[in-house]
């Protein structure tokens, strides 16, 4: 079988020209998922290596948000520290595999792979990250929740490239990321949970939570969150029951080779219940 030609653009203009012409090209950022595909026998028509484009490896921060270049390796993002990027994102990225993979994998690659097992996506869903998608002729921003569709596919159009991830800093005073690993598999979680809350004088101003590794797509649904806004903590058991019942309705586990459906449903419910019951203590932890 013939080998695909490899293009190595060194600036965005050249990249967009290539993606406009070769809409079937496989984009290599970190290459972790791409190499697994090649190893499994995939043969793309052509490859575009985007790791040499400095514009895709920048990181900047304002008071309101942090912007991360899509091809920046995870280890570089983590190296800027837990106090600079949202803590849940830091914790999510830290939990992804080993140092060698973090040296290679990029946040953009993580997002575009749209895996239901992605730890970073669970945090990005709660944080309501926005994605910049650019092509030769256009540019648009889209929320990560809209970019990844219910069926697990993405809204990436022919010729488009994910270039930047914008993550609002948010005034959260509770930030929790937890994952329960699948036995014997260092890189796969059986359930992942991210919770955020803003609490003032004991009253919920805003609250968000996401569950990963269960449904086809990361599960976040505002209908679970809005009933809690304006309530005082600690929540009554009835409030918690309403939310966890809603979670049960929304959980639709995909088949997994790692853990059973019932285990993932029960673990998701336990994690959410724990988060809602322990908000006061988590607030004190900062």
């Amino acid at each position: 079988m013939s080998e695909p030609p490899v293009f190595t653009p060194d600036h965005l203009g050249e990249l967009f020209s290539l993606t406009a012409t070769h809409t079937d090209a496989l984009l290599f950022a970190g290459g972790v998922e791409c190499m697994k595909r090649l190893e499994a026998g995939a043969r793309p028509a052509r490859i575009i290596d985007i790791s040499g484009i400095d514009e895709l490896k920048k990181i900047s921060r304002t008071e309101r948000y942090i912007e991360i270049g899509a091809a920046l390796p995870l280890s570089h993002i983590l190296s800027i520290g837990r106090h600079v990027i949202p803590r849940v994102l830091h914790d999510a990225l830290s939990s992804i595999s080993a140092p060698s993979i973090k040296n290679m994998a990029s946040l953009g690659g993580n997002i575009c792979s749209a895996s239901p097992y992605s730890d970073s996506l669970v945090a990005l869903f709660s944080l309501e990250a926005r994605l910049e998608l650019r092509s030769l002729s256009a540019s648009r921003w889209i929320s990560v929740g809209r970019f990844i569709r219910e069926d697990g596919s993405t809204d990436l159009r022919p010729g488009e490239v994910l270039t930047r991830i914008r993550i609002p800093m948010g005034p959260w005073n509770v930030q929790v990321f937890r994952n329960v690993g699948a036995s014997g598999l260092p890189t796969v979680s059986s359930v992942t949970f991210c919770g955020l809350a803003r609490i003032l004088k004991g009253v919920i101003q805003d609250i968000r939570f996401s569950v990963g590794s269960v449904n086809r797509r990361i599960l976040r649904d505002r209908s679970m969150e809005t009933p809690l806004i304006g309530h005082k903590i600690p929540f009554g058991e009835k409030d918690i029951q309403i939310v966890t019942s809603r979670l049960s309705e929304l959980l639709d586990p995909i088949e997994s080779p790692y853990t059973t459906e019932s285990y993932r449903i029960e673990t998701s419910q336990r994690m959410l219940t724990w988060f809602l019951r322990e908000l006061g203590g988590l607030l004190l932890e900062g």
Partner: protein, 155 residues
């Protein structure tokens, strides 16, 4: 593609398919079999090498990413006296039985100690999190890495 890069300090030039993995380059094309082929999907850590100064899984690096760069395999790393001492210590403590994971663990430990002279237990566990050892597990390795770093600190 015509590929030129540095391997353990020596420049090599090969003609290879661009998507050939660095793992196959070092093992099959260059005969450096210290780097092991395990899962071929970045899970087991048997194929760890340094690309420039970064630890990477050779199975996940395509040839076109190696152009003009410096690759260090376990054979190159063992030229360093300190790394050779780490190897001896791991063997003396009975932590390497079948030996399949050995080169990957050596790469991971040396990479950790190159940036953290006295790592915490958490850092050691994180550094070894990508290395699967079916014979001895990680508990003894963690203690030995602590000892190695403590001994080095007293020198």
């Amino acid at each position: 593609m015509k590929l030129s890069f540095w391997i353990n300090g020596e420049r090599v030039t090969l003609t290879v398919p661009p998507t050939r993995s660095l793992l196959d380059l070092v093992r099959e094309d260059l005969g450096l079999t210290g780097t092991k082929s395990g899962c071929r999907s970045g899970e087991c850590g048997a194929c760890l090498v340094l690309l420039d100064s970064e630890l990477v899984n050779a199975c996940l690096v395509p040839a076109f990413r190696v152009q003009g760069r410096k690759v260090t395999t376990v054979e190159g790393l063992l030229k360093d006296r300190f790394v050779a001492e780490i190897k001896n210590r791991l063997e003396t403590d009975g932590l390497l039985q079948c030996g399949f994971c050995e080169s990957g663990i050596l790469m991971a430990v040396a990479y950790l100690l190159s940036s953290r002279s006295v790592p915490t237990e958490k850092e050691i566990r994180e550094a070894l999190s990508g290395n699967i050892c079916r014979c001895t597990g990680h508990a003894g390795l963690v203690e030995t890495v602590k000892t190695i770093s403590a001994v080095r600190r007293t020198r």
